[in-house]
Amino acid sequence: MKLEYKSYQQDLELGREIGIFQYLELFNIDVPILPYKVLDHLGKTHAQKFYQELNLLNKAIPNLEKIMNLSKELPNLDWVLPMIEQKTINQAGLLSLYYFLKKNIELIEIESFSKKEIPSLQKLTDQIDIYLDARKGCLKSDTKIDQLKKQIQDLESSIDELSKRYENEIFNDTNLKMIYPWPKEISPDHSALEKIKKSSLLKTVKNNDHQLIEYIPPKYLTEEIAKKEKMEKIISSYYQQIISKLNMAIFKKQKIITLKYEERVKLTYQYILLFCMKKHKLILPEISKTLRFEVAEGILPAIQNKREKQYVPLNINLNKGSNVLFGANMAGKTSVLKTIYFLSFLVSLGLPVPAKKLITSIPSNVKIHLKSSGTIASNLSSFGEELDFFSKDFTAGSVVLVDELFQTTNPLAGKDLSTIFLKYFNHKNVLFFCTTQYPEIIKIKNLNLYKMKDVNQNIFNSINTLSDLLNNMPFKVEKVSGDKTYIAKEGTMALLIARHFIKNENIKQSISKKIKG
């Protein structure tokens, strides 16, 4: 199975960067019954039901590995179902249907669901069994047909002999060595041409600058060939009758076959999700009816793969309304947003997620705006892009993520716009989460405030490069109250970082004076 998300329109580059397509590849398993699955947002009700079913299935399966192995043997019937409907099933379609029914019964027997359909499916399998030798992949024949087949073989030998007789007669008549029915051409000045023209065994047709010789096979040969063709017709008609009989019987069960097949495809998809979930140590989210997002050790694999052992999973608890994240530069604020986007996006598609625990509502929509310097493609400045992002209404239940809220314009306007938007979203039925550098935001009442944990200031004695700094960043989110002290500290942290890495001594001294206050 290959998972595809075709309507990924938000930002293809972002999708690649955060590894959505790579994540979907975790679920690639070669299962003929489900070669592709096109994902789409499930919608709140559907997603809730889907996760509920997955949870129940997860608890109910006795042996997932065995079930997966059997599921891999289920043939694809997408091409057979229309044949059943049109009563045109052929030998190959019949064999595939037979194997599907057999494997499906095997699966039902080890599954913990109702087994009441087994007799009906078994009856159809038995009916096919009468005419189909599944082991050999052929239709069964009776003694009469076997005899006819033997007679055809004898006739073929006879036709071969008679062909040789005909060829000898041609040679005697025209001096031309021919092998019936191989084609032959001769030049117009060929010595045998006159004889051929007079012969009753051959004729010539002009073809470009040569003569094409055509056969006039004698009656003894054509009669034998006709005899063989007649027998072939009897055999063919015999098998067509069997096929026709089977088509009628199968057509009567069309509804149940289609239903069982669709159910099996759906179940197979769920088994694949659960199988891969266990294989890659993923989890199913707990679905909350109220708008929230609480994750323990949430992972963004694209970053985890880069940072390997130094990767710090995300722990955060967001609620309905406006949620704000402060933090020093390079502290990992954007990665937090991307992780939440990634996990929420997976939930909206009904997939297992990489985390230890995730309690979340089903987002009606997941939107993210990351800081940019504008794009030529959109013909907008970075401020224009941000306004464009907010110009669309967010449906109730949306998860809206914004990096560096309104830092795309001058700080005074940016601060005012941020305040207006945060106040607005704080009373809306959306989960709004942004990062910001505006300390004034803290004055807004009832905001959920978070900050990135600061780096230990002592590390400046032991680090030389920005990469060293990154390696020492705690990358942890802390919930904070409305007091302003940590905002001041955060400003100091940016000064400390700048002082440590800037080489110019004059600037260093000025920064030091500023830090001392």
């Binding site: 190959a92 595939s96 087949k149 073929e156 092998i179 191989w182 001769i186």
Partner: protein, 327 residues
């Protein structure tokens, strides 16, 4: 002998007599007692030739032999064959069936057009049989037929006419057979660094990669830049795409260049003056084992086509019939 041996048939044009050649070799092989599988790239064995308005020779699969075809081609033949394997999605775009005939059976062969699908079928055949000959009705349009993974030996069917376009096709098919094959060291290097994505790869004598081009070669502006930058050096260019007139015009001024063609089916150049000079050395990545050439002559006039030496040439339409070969 290898477990699987694939004999590939290529026609220079429509009505070059490929099916007749196919039947001839198939009939000769029938004497040997090795499993035989008939496979086609795309469709072959259709009864009627709409181009020339006449009935074409059929492929009749002999009793006990195997064939692969698209399931719709088996309508009306139910009961006359055993199904060994059904090849279905996701690895295949259509449904193909590997079957064994109960008796002699005229079948329209239709196989996949993609290399990966042909390889999957070969992989199964290799696992199913201890030993087998595969007769592959190839298509000249499919460059991958020349790959060692696909074909072990070839038969060409050539349509000899007075029409320049047909003569050009034959020359393009025959000419690369005179090229030397790259030394094993370069061959393994190319195999290591190449993939279907890369249309051109430039490297030097010390096997340092200079350039890997993703774009179609003659549209690739960076290719020309890299060639100019390295014009003084002895360099190789591996080409995984058609060698067209336009590309040849780009490449031919670089005298220190050695051109390596992935397949002998790549040359699509007309007789342009630069080509006649033939200043650039050309090599083939894979050795081509050509076992026979079948001619279908529409004209008796002599042409300037030089057929390779030491390769048997047959004219089944004009020569004396061979006793041991019956359809």
């Amino acid at each position: 002998m290898k477990k699987l041996h694939t004999i590939c048939f290529i026609g220079s044009d429509k009505n070059a007599g490929k099916t007749t050649a196919f039947n001839f070799v198939y009939a000769k092989l029938g004497i040997k007692k090795i499993n035989t599988v008939l496979l086609s790239i795309g469709v072959n064995g259709e009864d009627f030739d709409s181009l020339e308005n006449h009935i074409k020779p059929k492929i009749v699969v002999k009793k006990g032999d195997y064939f692969v075809t698209e399931q719709n081609r088996l309508k009306e033949l139910d009961g006359l064959y055993d199904i060994v394997k059904i090849f279905s999605p996701p690895n295949f775009k259509k449904i193909y069936v590997l079957s064994c005939t109960h008796g002699n059976l005229p079948v329209v062969l239709e196989g996949p057009n993609e290399k990966e699908e042909i390889l999957k079928i070969k992989e199964f055949i290799g696992s199913y049989f201890d030993q087998a000959n595969i007769l592959l009705d190839g298509s000249i349009d499919r460059q991958f037929i020349a790959s060692e993974e696909i074909s072990d030996e070839f038969y060409f069917s050539l349509l000899i006419t007075q029409r320049l376009e047909q003569i050009k096709k034959i020359k393009n098919l025959i000419r690369p057979l005179t090229y030397d094959v790259v030394i094993p060291q370069i061959k393994s290097f190319i195999k290591k660094i190449s993939s279907d994505r890369y249309k051109t790869i430039i490297f030097d004598e010390s096997l340092n990669i200079i350039y890997k081009g993703l774009e179609i070669s003659f549209l690739d502006k960076n290719l020309l830049i890299k060639l100019k930058e390295n014009a003084a050096k002895k360099i190789y260019i591996y080409l995984n795409g058609a060698l067209t007139n336009h590309l040849w015009e780009i490449l031919s001024p670089f005298k220190n260049l050695t051109l390596i063609l992935d397949s002998f089916t790549q040359e699509m150049i007309s007789n342009i003056p630069q080509f006649k000079d033939d200043t650039i050395k050309k090599l083939l990545l894979n050795k081509v084992k050509l076992s026979g050439i079948f001619l279908r002559e529409e004209t008796s006039k002599k042409s300037d086509i030089f057929l390779p030496e030491n390769v048997p040439v047959y004219n089944l339409f004009r020569e004396e019939a061979l006793d041991e070969v019956r359809i």
